[in-house]
Symmetry: C2
Subunit: 591 residues, 2 copies
């Protein structure tokens, strides 16, 4: 059974869609990234994902990481794969050439990342860290810091870790207590315990740079008193070589239900009062720096959800076309389970979510690229939309990634419950996805309060206008007109919900807090419907031109499926949002 | 952290509700089972579940069963717990006194079973087998067979196993190929391979009686040619003692993602042509016998879903009242996560499903008891309703059990992903629940075609009349009137859907097959809403009487929550059902 094949055709289609809708390649900065170049990069990445990373995925799950004598040992094959990955230049794909990267736009990096995430998430988690911490340095680092860290990070010589969480500071970073005491020579003495540090220790590189959130002695309480420090595992000599230990100790790794190949470490900084770090950016502005990385990480989490769905779909489709069971509902003859309408329903429920969410993920990446190069007015509008869609994408794609993993197991039947088929690993690996980088509830709060209420619904209203425009095009279409009314009435219901959020004086805080997740879920479904409808309209034109008609006919069918199967949930979700204060406020758990 | 506390108060409430609604204790056969007796049994069972079974649950998960030298070794503590369980008489709780049982009604056995399932499902899976196979013998066994098997089974001296599945015959039992060749002396030579046999081998008892489905030489093809045989692991001597090996060999156990404490065996019968069995009932009628057990097992699966939800709720509630994170949305002060409305939403989503589904499960048990003792006309109506509700309960409670396990992990945040908290085990253990004893898709097909279409919607229409009656009572209520319209309009939508199913000439087979699961899900939610509304009406009366007002006020709040949070999904599910043929039929996977 094949483990994973990068779905290059679907990826190309949705990438083209994102490029056309944003027009990002009309900007001079991106004019050189033509279809040929994109095709070549995706092809190469696909080969590496399919051939090198995917085969290691179940080894990582079965062996897991080990913690022995204070050191973390990664699974068999991890070291070789890391070397190949970094030597092939994948680490710096979207990072500046100046520091050894390849300066490709995010719209290319996004599908490439999706391949890594699908093929072997447990392995590749280090990559998003390097990407995100590099961007922090590019934004906030001094020239000296950039010179010191960026090249070895981007070449893969050094790895990085993000040390945020403490036992009493998870979702609520403002409560962290790790200390950073200035030494008067530019160095800070770091002291504290961190947990849940992904790739906090391992045997892949000669050094690991920890990006640690900590408090200076006079820092204000809460999240306004947090600073960011670069804390190497081994000290860095003046010539850039790796020196003695910096009093950074791994004290254990978590025994997790999934992602066994990714070491999740507890780290103790400064047990012997000999752990030194340097400040990145300004004091007390650490959380702002972290948010750059956090937004990047949230988009990556959303792509993980897409990636889990894609793998699940491929595995389930293949199994359904091999497994004979039951009889065909038309003929009564023994048949492949792929011919049972209920199995088709499950397969399409995964495929439609994957295509809708993937389209959204690629669109966001292209918007980020464009927002960094276009004029100020358009950039502001794009940034507002990116800010709006980030929690929706993170929240919905991760929740659905879990559901899709469950559906995959369901299609496998009893064999899905047996570890050897590998689909139970999907479920286990996916389970943290709705938790790390901000739980679903936190995404919903970010959406409702910061992304909708704060700008008085402007960004969401603008989005709904674009959705209405697609609905209008649907109405004029020959074969898709029946979907128009569904899309525009869902959009109208969403518009009505905005009113309840932005009227700050009358907004029911209990409702907004309790109903945030159903609201976000409804918006996520609406966004997928919008993307799929737009894709179906393009497909309809292709069919009329006789261009790859079978493939495009399937895209139309997929969109019709989504409208019949998922779009009705928008109204239900918004009804729930409207009534969300009922029962929640009256129930008393203390009885 | 407490592992499980049998929720006796909730159980008593819902059991009383079921007793009142069915009036089962008005029948002379059940008049003796007064509240005092019920209370005493539930108390004792609670002590055993909390004190003996729950503490073994994580040991079973961590150690798992081992397969060594052709033998299955159960986890530490399994043997002692088995001995205590059987010696305390729990095995035969609802089986005839004549054979060593206690002849208690199912309405008492149901909450007792729920406790076992919540406390340690991996351990207790043998129990449903003994219960179900005993009923098969009581229905179909000869007097000699009853005498031979029932007492040692009910005393726990012998265990039983159900050998149905073969590599190519899972959901589709009609395809099985295990042979049974009559020997002319009443014995049959059994030869074949079976897989996924729960407790197919173990070290708990001196003998294991396998109930094996097989084909005689001249049997017709398909499911009408299947016979049932009792095949002991060790032959039984004329005096009832255990003799030599009966050529029944365990060839391995599955490496499952959950339920590690329950050995899932591959069994080879007759490798040396020396495996003998005896026919139970008539030749070629084996599937009919199995369906008795299957219906029982499906109700047990539904209770497992309730059981997972209950444990998850208890664990998540406790954690939410210990874990401080984030700030109160009203005061801005650091707070327990139990005070975040989104966490309350998650807790109540579990609790409301548990209470609604549990009520349904207890009601079905009381209906079964009544149907066996009341007059023929009422019995027929009850049996039709039980038949209707069985797939709904199995299908919905198991799917929701999985969702509730996921929600529990979500409330635990990062700690939920770490195995030590035990909630990841819930997710893993629950995952087979939607698959074994008939997948969710099979439940939906049973519901749509056999339980609705075949009787022209009579049983479902009768159910909707009862639901409408509750809606009418809601409308007259002072505080619950706002829920009446929601319930009656959901009922009306369901009634409209019946039309599409029963009009056999015009029914769209593709729609009914592809939309069965959304239809069933909508009906499941409607049934829970019905139960919760009825419970809230009773609670309202209690509040008016000043009887335990706080508890009953919470029940009203819980019902309001369910109506705001879950009831909107009924309309969405039925819309999906109405449009279910769209997209499913047009999409082609073979491109």
């Amino acid at each position: 059974m094949s483990l994973y094949q990068a779905p290059l055709k679907d990826m190309q289609l949705l990438l083209q869609h994102a490029l056309e809708r944003t027009g990002v390649r009309d900007l001079p900065a991106f004019a050189d990234f033509d279809d040929e170049l994109i095709g070549a990069v995706l092809d190469e990445a696909g080969k590496f994902a399919n051939g090198e990373l995917a085969p290691l995925n179940s080894i990582g799950d079965t062996q897991g990481c080990r913690f022995e004598d204070g050191k973390v040992i990664t699974p068999d094959g991890w070291k070789e794969a890391y070397q190949q990955f970094t030597e092939s230049g994948w680490t710096g794909l979207a990072l500046p050439e100046e520091f050894g990267g390849q300066s490709l736009p995010k719209f290319i990096a996004q599908p490439v990342n999706e391949m890594w995430l699908s093929a072997n998430l447990g392995f590749i988690m280090f990559h998003a860290l390097t990407q995100g911490c590099s961007e922090i340095l590019l934004h906030f680092g001094s020239e000296e810091q950039k010179a010191r860290y960026l090249e070895p990070m981007i070449s893969g010589q050094w790895a990085v870790a993000m040390a945020l969480t403490e036992p009493n500071a998870g979702s609520d970073l403002g409560s962290l207590t790790t200390k950073a005491i200035p030494q008067g020579d530019g160095r800070y003495l770091i002291k504290g315990q961190k947990i849940f540090i992904t790739y906090g220790d391992h045997d892949l590189t000669e050094n690991i740079i920890h990006f640690v959130l900590a408090r200076t002695p006079d820092a204000p309480a809460g999240s306004r008193g947090i600073s960011l420090f670069a804390v190497p595992k081994y000290r860095i000599e003046a010539d850039g070589s790796v020196g003695e230990s910096n009093d950074v100790a791994c004290t254990g790794i978590e025994h997790k239900t999934g992602l066994h190949g990714s070491p999740t470490c507890s780290i103790s900084y400064g047990d012997n009062d000999a752990c030194y770090g340097e400040l990145i950016g300004e004091e007390n502005r650490g959380l702002m720096a972290m948010f750059i990385l956090m937004n990047e990480a949230r988009l990556s989490c959303g792509m993980q959800g897409v990636g889990f769905g894609e793998v699940g779909f491929q595995r389930a489709l293949e199994y359904s076309q091999e497994r004979t069971q039951g009889s065909d509902y038309r003929t009564g003859e023994r048949t492949l389970i792929a011919n049972h309408p209920d199995v088709v329903r499950m397969l399409l429920s995964i495929r439609s979510e994957v295509m809708g969410l993937r389209s959204l993920g690629y669109l966001i990446a292209a918007m980020i690229d464009k927002s960094e190069q276009c004029d100020a007015e358009e950039s502001q509008a794009l940034k507002a939309r990116i800010a709006l869609l980030t929690p929706v994408f993170k929240g919905c794609a991760t929740e659905r990634g879990n559901l899709m993993a469950g559906t995959t197991i369901q299609i496998f039947g009893g064999m899905g419950f047996v570890e050897e088929t590998g689909v139970a690993q999907l479920m286990r690996d996916a389970r943290a996805n709705t938790i790390y980088e901000g739980t679903t509830g936190i995404q919903a709060r970010d959406l409702v309060f910061r992304k909708v209420q704060l700008d008085k619904g402007a960004a969401l209203t603008a989005l709904l206008e674009d959705i209405d425009a697609v609905a209008a095009r649907l109405a004029e279409s020959e074969s898709l007109a029946t979907l128009a009314e569904q899309l525009s009435s869902a959009s109208a219901l969403m518009r009505a919900a905005i009113g309840q959020i932005i009227d700050k004086d009358n907004a029911d805080l209990l409702q907004l807090n309790a109903g945030g997740v159903p609201f976000m879920d409804a918006l996520g479904t609406l966004c997928c419907a919008w993307q799929l409808a737009d894709i179906a309209l393009t497909a309809e034109a292709k069919i009329a031109q006789g261009d790859d008609s079978d493939y495009h006919t399937n895209l139309v069918a997929l969109t019709e499926f989504y409208f019949s199967y998922s779009v009705p949930n928008i109204e239900a979700g918004l009804k729930t949002f409207n009534q969300a204060h009922q029962g929640v406020g009256r129930y008393r758990f203390d009885l």
